[in-house]
Symmetry: C2
Amino acid sequence: MDVITLAHGAGGQLTKELIEGLFYKYFNNEILLQGNDSAVLPALKGKIVTSTDSFVIKPIFFRGGDIGKLSVCGTVNDLVMSGASPLYITVAFIIEEGFEINHLERIVESIAETASAAGIMVVTGDTKVVEKGFCDSIYINTTGIGVLERDIYLSGDRAEIGDEVIINGNIGEHEASILIQRGELGLSGELKSDCALLDRLIIDILDNCQQVKVLRDPTRGGIATTLNEIAQQSGLSIRLVEDSLPIGNQVRSLCRITGFDPLYLANEGKVVVFVNPAESRLVLEIMQQSSLGKDARIIGEVIEDNKQRVYLKTNISGTRIINSLTGELLPRIC
Amino acid sequence: MDVITLAHGAGGQLTKELIEGLFYKYFNNEILLQGNDSAVLPALKGKIVTSTDSFVIKPIFFRGGDIGKLSVCGTVNDLVMSGASPLYITVAFIIEEGFEINHLERIVESIAETASAAGIMVVTGDTKVVEKGFCDSIYINTTGIGVLERDIYLSGDRAEIGDEVIINGNIGEHEASILIQRGELGLSGELKSDCALLDRLIIDILDNCQQVKVLRDPTRGGIATTLNEIAQQSGLSIRLVEDSLPIGNQVRSLCRITGFDPLYLANEGKVVVFVNPAESRLVLEIMQQSSLGKDARIIGEVIEDNKQRVYLKTNISGTRIINSLTGELLPRIC
């Protein structure tokens, strides 16, 4: 069994073999093959958009994805939330000494496949190796670069009274799935992470709708935290309707057993859209035509209330305040 | 003593407090304060240049710098090696649960100071927290974005027969200094890392010289490995002259005691310049006028030899082949 050694991260002969034998095999493009310290990209017409994320998820291979797929989806999704077209990505590995090279190859292959599905190029990277016990198998940073070709400004502060809030499907499935797979609570089930690229869905929406104000992917902290951020950015409040929240049966029963609230569970293939009500049906129809949006729903609206809160109208006709996540549910879900 | 908890990385209330209370305090610019998932930057005229690096150095505070300063210098230096003007940087932290917040603040302040010295903005970031024992206090990824406004192409494959190889000062001081500070070999001394921003020096050189072919910073693997990379990219060989290598007394005696070879020790404030001999004096003079180049020297030249090797003409009139680093000297030097 071939494993990663400290020398693979020393910048010498073994680093070179790893780059040429493994990374160039899967990430094959003219820019990366320049082989210099930095990547020179063509000039771009339009504003440039960038986003960075490090991924420390445990386990690294999970139902619905792996740390490689997640590293690309997470960064591509952050770019497209601004309306940008993603173009390039950088990939930096921190690897624990002793990590199996065939596991690294699976991850690299997954990064390459996901990047290819998103139509982006891996243009430069970095590999560091730390001694056994100083990281948990592998951590990955990706940074994306895209271009904003549309004349739009999507931002939390653009939400307006009356805007409807739409989500493209069932909430909480990424975190619930990771929770099950950690095995710590003795739960079982086949629930898959919703980890997915949202680029095509967002492009379809923006190509057809003129009155989208905000796009945001409700990852860590779930939709509760994401919607609180937007309430604060806009200075308004948001009212959700409990009955309208799309929640799958497996997440529902997991939450019943554990006491977790699906509003706080992380998603990795969901987007919340704030749109003028004149276009909310259109957004919903576009979502429902996509495999990533068949369970799409209007879940709430922006209301005139400067307390900057998120309210939930419950099934028993009451209303409760939904705060941002405090504390943490589960470490290392992304 | 306030410490980082898992909740600081959960994306909820404590993450927000860390961002607003600490990061916004030091990284204060309009783009970062947009507060969305990605940063929208102005359009750029010219080719875009990007580079990424993760930093896992031990110790995180060292003579001559800290992991924050190093994270900015490393990425800025990689950008300028292409001739680009650095503009923006992203910063992503992986922090161990229990890490002292005042240590994080020192690092953030150091990042902000170094970014300011380089005239660049921290435009977006990420914070992940892992459980105690799953990283060694803090790891940082930075990704830089710059613009190539000059009509030049600097690359290892541009080296030509007769080009002279110049370095801006004493070699090996970063790695030697880290080695001493680890204390593992019972060595002592006040040697400082050479960690520095090279942007101004490179701009001065490129503003005044037309025949520079390659710029490269000899970090991990030292000048031996860097020059081997360039020999391979260009298909030529390089001959160094041992007598001309600038080596400080402390590195010289450390190498005598430990058996390390200064050619393989990492630098963090050095650049090797390949230039047509017609301009080598000019490059040398520009370097020597800078505080970062008072010990600059011509150390060798490109020779007609398609074996793609690096040769060292030794003091006793012999010549030996200098290979790339094999194995590793010291883990986690950057």
